[in-house]
């Protein structure tokens, strides 16, 4: 409006919005006479400059498709149509043409450091709809230390207007666009105009060939989202790296030359627009290294924009560069290459996939030894000992079924992970234990397995002596279920390898996730399979005997200990009432299974056996109902799951983005502990490392702020913070040094007091982010820091 004309004494006067849209009032929101009055008022109110001439100019402006450049406005705007007539239901190709005077330039959809994008608002006949504008790739306008993206040339912003099928032949379609823009040379001028034209509705569409050719030439400069290209970005404290991988191993750069490319980012505050990207070839792709913007804290989750790559043909200037729309997820540095496509033959993509697969295999193998699998490992050891007592075929069958149980559970997990990701939920390794109902069900399952091993009942009612039961071959169902159980319990144990392999799977496609999780399962199974398949290895196992019954009963107790741990997790999630519900459910289940074991054997009369089985089923159903009922109260758990508790005197504070930023601002060393109650390794770390006197002393001496990011229940803030490091599992401990620009120190998964004190030492030794400058201000800053630190 005219109110924009402030301080216009020695500045060019932008053309106002008062340009009347030719007499097609139906297509224009404001009736003509109202606009005229508004314009007159605006003209009268205009301050400074030359209101009289400005007003006169406004009313003498011819209405129509073109708003010409004037002495005050160095750009010409035109609304163009590539159709002379349009059929009902068809589409009119349209464009907004902007032609700046020589030396001036207009802007792209993201302007960069200076200026702003033109804004087009359509006013169309009833029923007609406009498609989003397509922006040709811009050029860089440099003015160190600033740079912006725009057009020195005449540009067409391409659009399309869809005409309703109900349009009557013989009527007209009114197209009007309100355009606001900024053009710059050394100074900048803003302006706005309404441009309009009319297209008759006819039986068939008639193209304006000359205009259509112009549009086609411009369309060639519009970047495309090309199928098969893969992109990924990573961010560190000083750089943004963008990787681009073409479909197949297409050669990007002419042989023997360095690749040349430009990246036009879509948003502010991510890269330094003025710094030229450093481009280099990476296996089967391209890497652009761009300086990070100094302005904005935090890391974006995606980087979008336009990538222009010089091809063999375009390098000589003969043709346009390859223009691609980029939408790149931000991943950890180490995972950048993992996005590379699986090129035919030996390519980087295969290497990444095979590496991830091998890591997953190794991680799965190590899972056999993790503390949270160890109790269940007993089931497998026992099953193996039992199987070894029989022929090789039985042993193999057992292992195959166990493996099937593991793999099917792994595939179920990957399916859920992919489904959650598709639904936009952030999920990570061990996420299933964030749901109290799952924790409760697991506890019941482990408890039942413990009762089984203690000899309270047998799944298969053969009756007879305990020794007979122990020496009998394990049944297929049991082997399969023990595989499921092992997978379910193994998942929260974030073995060191899993973090990378699972993160890769989560960021990669469905097929890759499948491969990685399958490898994980195979890793879990293969040691057992080897024992079953190789007779010589099997010979190592001790001969079966009565001792196996004792062992089996003794091994029940690690399972009961696991139940205690799960009950504690559930207690943290669903409070005391939830934990009590679980204990009641366990008692009920124990009663049912005892009845089954006491009266359900084949030796018992049929009627009594049926009754016992009925009691067991009802008790089990009741137990499950109790647990799921308790988990429904999970919402009230937040208060219980608060920070503090047993960790004792250490002043842990809950993590959130605001408190984190405030603490960082204060120039203190900040330690963030990503943890969850269901993560045993985390608990061990907290006892061993943070419980030690030397660590406590270091925390006190260096004035370290302790933030605890609790992932016990799903928390998007914590998930995002983890994702910033390319992680989706706990434990994860990171220390931020005093200096704001210093890289954070990531601690290893298993902590010792020495590791923590060493890292704190280094973090505290780095120079403070508060640097002394003028002596006069320094004293005041010191006092400000103490003030900020108090609350």
């Amino acid at each position: 409006m005219k109110s924009m004309k402030i301080f216009s004494m020695n500045e060019r006067i932008p053309r106002g919005t008062c340009l009347p849209v030719e007499g097609r009032a139906a297509s224009v929101r404001t009736p003509r006479h109202v606009r005229a009055i508004l314009c007159a008022l605006a003209g009268a109110l205009a301050v400074g400059g030359t209101p009289a001439t400005a007003g006169a100019q406004l009313f003498s402006q011819p209405a129509g498709p073109v708003a010409h450049a004037t002495a005050d406005q160095p750009v010409e705007i035109e609304l163009r149509s590539a159709a002379r007539a349009v059929a009902p239901g068809d589409t009119i190709p349209v464009a907004i043409r902007l032609r700046p005077n020589p030396g001036w330039h207009t802007y792209w959809r993201h302007a960069g450091d200076v200026g702003s994008a033109p804004v087009v608002t359509w006013r169309l006949s009833r029923g007609a709809t406009a498609a989003p504008l397509r922006w040709p790739a811009p050029e860089r306008m440099e003015s160190p230390p600033l740079a912006s993206y725009g057009y020195k040339r005449e540009v067409h912003l391409l659009g399309a207007v869809h005409v309703p099928a109900s349009a009557r032949v013989g009527s007209t379609i009114d197209l009007a666009a309100e355009v606001t823009w900024v053009v710059c040379h050394e100074e900048c001028v803003a302006g706005d105009a309404a441009v309009a034209l009319t297209v008759p509705v006819a039986a068939r569409t008639v193209a304006d060939e000359a205009v259509a050719r112009v549009f086609a030439a411009e369309a060639a400069r519009v970047p495309a989202r090309v199928e098969g290209w893969r992109f990924a970005a990573a961010v560190d404290s000083s750089n943004v790296l963008l990787h681009a991988y073409p479909p197949a191993a297409a050669a990007i750069a002419p042989a023997g030359t360095a690749p040349r490319a430009q990246f036009f980012i879509d948003s502010a505050g991510v890269i330094d627009h003025a710094a030229q990207p450093r481009v280099r070839a990476v296996p089967v792709g391209l890497e652009l290294q761009m300086a990070r913007s100094a302005f904005v804290a935090g890391t974006p989750s995606r980087i979008t924009g336009v990538l222009a790559i010089d091809t063999a043909a375009s390098a000589g200037g003969g043709t346009l560069p390859m223009l691609l729309e980029v939408d790149a997820p931000v991943v950890a540095m180490a995972q950048l290459a993992a996005v590379a496509p699986p090129a035919p033959g030996a390519g980087g993509g295969w290497i990444a996939l095979v590496t991830a697969g091998l890591l997953a295999l190794l991680g799965g193998t190590l899972l056999n030894l993790m503390p949270c699998v160890l109790p269940v490992l007993s089931i497998k050891a026992l099953g193996m000992a039992e199987a070894a007592a029989h022929d090789r075929r039985t042993a193999l069958r057992h292992v195959v079924l166990f493996g099937a149980g593991v793999l099917v559970s792994m595939w179920a997990l990957v399916g859920m992970l992919l489904a959650l990701r598709a639904a936009g939920t952030e999920a990570g390794w061990g996420y299933q234990l964030q749901n109290p109902a799952v924790v409760g069900a697991l506890a019941l399952l482990v408890f039942a397995a413990g009762l089984n091993m203690a000899g309270v009942f047998d799944l298969v009612p053969v009756g007879g002596s305990l020794s007979a039961a122990a020496s009998r071959a394990p049944r297929g169902v049991e082997a399969f279920l023990s595989g499921v159980l092992v997978t379910a319990l193994a998942t929260p144990c974030s073995a060191p390898f899993l973090a990378a392999a699972v993160a890769y799977a989560v960021t990669a496609g469905a097929a890759e996730s499948f491969v990685v999780f399958t490898a994980l399962g195979l890793g879990l199974v293969w040691p057992l399979a080897m024992v079953a398949a190789v007779p010589r290895l099997r010979a190592w196992l001790p001969k079966p005997g009565a001792w196996m019954v004792t062992l089996r009963q003794v091994l029940a107790f690690p399972l009961f200990a696991t139940v205690v741990w799960l009950a504690w997790v559930l207690g943290r999630q669903a409070g005391v009432s939830g934990m009590v519900a679980l204990l009641a459910a366990c008692t009920l289940l124990a009663f049912g299974l005892w009845a089954l074991g006491r009266f359900g054997t084949l030796a018992a009369p049929t009627g009594r056996r049926r009754l016992a089985q009925g009691i067991a089923i009802v008790a089990a159903a009741g137990a499950v109902a109790l647990v799921s009922g308790a988990s429904a109260q999970g919402g009230s758990a937040q208060g219980v799951a608060q920070v503090g508790g047993a960790a004792g005197a250490l002043p842990w504070q809950p993590y959130d983005a605001a408190s984190f930023a405030a603490e960082r601002d204060s120039g203190r060393v900040v330690l963030v502990d990503f943890t969850a109650d269901w993560c045993l390794t985390c608990k061990v770390n907290e006892r061993v490392a943070f419980g030690s006197g030397s660590v406590r002393a270091a925390i006190r001496d260096h004035g370290v702020t302790l933030l605890r990011a609790d992932w016990t229940t799903r928390d998007p803030v914590v998930t995002r913070a983890l994702a910033a490091f390319g992680r989706n599992s706990v434990p994860f401990v990171v220390i931020y040094p005093r200096a704001r620009d210093a890289a954070p120190i990531v601690l290893p998964t298993l902590l010792t007091p020495g590791i923590v004190t060493g890292a704190l030492q280094r973090a505290a030794a780095s120079p403070s982010g508060v640097q002394p400058s003028a002596g006069s201000t320094r004293g005041r800053i010191q006092s400000s820091l103490t003030i900020e630190a108090t609350p």
């Binding site: 409006m1 109110s3 924009m4 004309k5 402030i6 301080f7 216009s8 500045e11 400074g48 302007a111 450091d113 200026g115 702003s116 003015s143 600033l146 606001t180 823009w181 710059c184 050394e186 100074e187 900048c188 001028v189 803003a190 990573a234 961010v235 560190d236 404290s237 302005f295 904005v296 935090g298 950890a332 540095m333 180490a334 190590l366 030894l369 060191p496 390898f497 001790p542 001792w547 605001a658 930023a661 405030a662 960082r664 910033a724 490091f725 704001r740 620009d741 890289a743 954070p744 998964t749 982010g769 508060v770 640097q771 400058s773 201000t777 320094r778 005041r780 800053i781 006092s783 400000s784």
Partner: protein, 230 residues
């Protein structure tokens, strides 16, 4: 025990088993270490300029010849606003929408709450945006602008000291002399005053939080607008 193996054979087996087990653990541990070392480098942390650090000390002259030094304003919040009367983005925030200008309203409100508001013109002689002191005064009066003072930074010293790149651009200094905000006025990077109604005003948010003793949520943003014409 019904084992048929001799004690020596059994202990040899045990030894081999322990060796294999140990090797596996060692390999796993070493690989994990390398893995973590590789992952430790992607720092995702803000690379902020000097927000949170001491604001550079300055002494500058206003349109009336009076001198303003940051040290002299100790104990008060100070707003520095880079200004160019000809820049469409500055105009956007001085435009009267329903009789109210965005910048004028902010100046009135916050100077009323004891904040020192310095509008800084860093345009060099002969460059766009450069005016005489009197013209600057007249324009401010015409527009109803109400800063504490208009600083004439014709040599661009103050602008460069604070890294001013755009008009409009803001720096906010707290009573202890710490730079607490630097960047854009709001999150709508266009030139039309119509955008102001729906925008998140970072300067208001920072001042409101700071004056209330609260932490400032968004402390640094990328400014937008015209270039500063040094």
């Amino acid at each position: 025990m019904t084992s048929t193996t001799t004690p020596t054979r059994r202990s040899r087996k045990l030894l081999i088993f322990a060796a294999v087990f140990g090797a596996l653990l060692l390999f796993g541990g070493l690989s994990a270490r390398r893995m973590l070392a590789a992952k430790a480098d992607p720092a995702s942390l803000p690379d902020l300029l000097t927000v949170g650090g001491p604001a550079p000390a300055f002494t500058a002259t206003d349109t009336r010849g009076a001198s303003h030094s940051l040290a002299g304003y100790a104990g008060k919040w100070v707003v520095l606003e880079w200004f160019n009367h000809g820049c469409p983005f500055t105009k956007k925030h001085y435009a009267l929408v329903n009789g109210v200008g965005n910048s004028q309203a902010m100046q009135q409100e916050y100077t009323g709450r004891g904040v020192i508001w310095l509008s800084v013109v860093s345009s060099g002689p002969g460059r766009q945006g450069y005016t005489s002191a009197k013209k600057a005064e007249d324009m401010a009066r015409d527009k109803g602008a109400a800063p504490t003072a208009i600083i004439r930074d014709t040599a661009g010293v103050l602008g460069r000291l604070y890294g001013a790149r755009n008009t409009p651009q803001y720096a906010i200094v707290d009573p202890q002399g710490v730079l607490r905000y630097a960047g854009a006025i709001d999150d709508r990077r266009g030139s039309s005053p119509k955008e102001i109604a729906g925008a998140t005003n970072y300067v208001r948010a920072a001042l409101d939080a700071g004056l209330a003793g609260q932490p400032i949520a968004v402390a640094q943003t990328q400014p937008y607008g015209c270039e500063v014409k040094y």
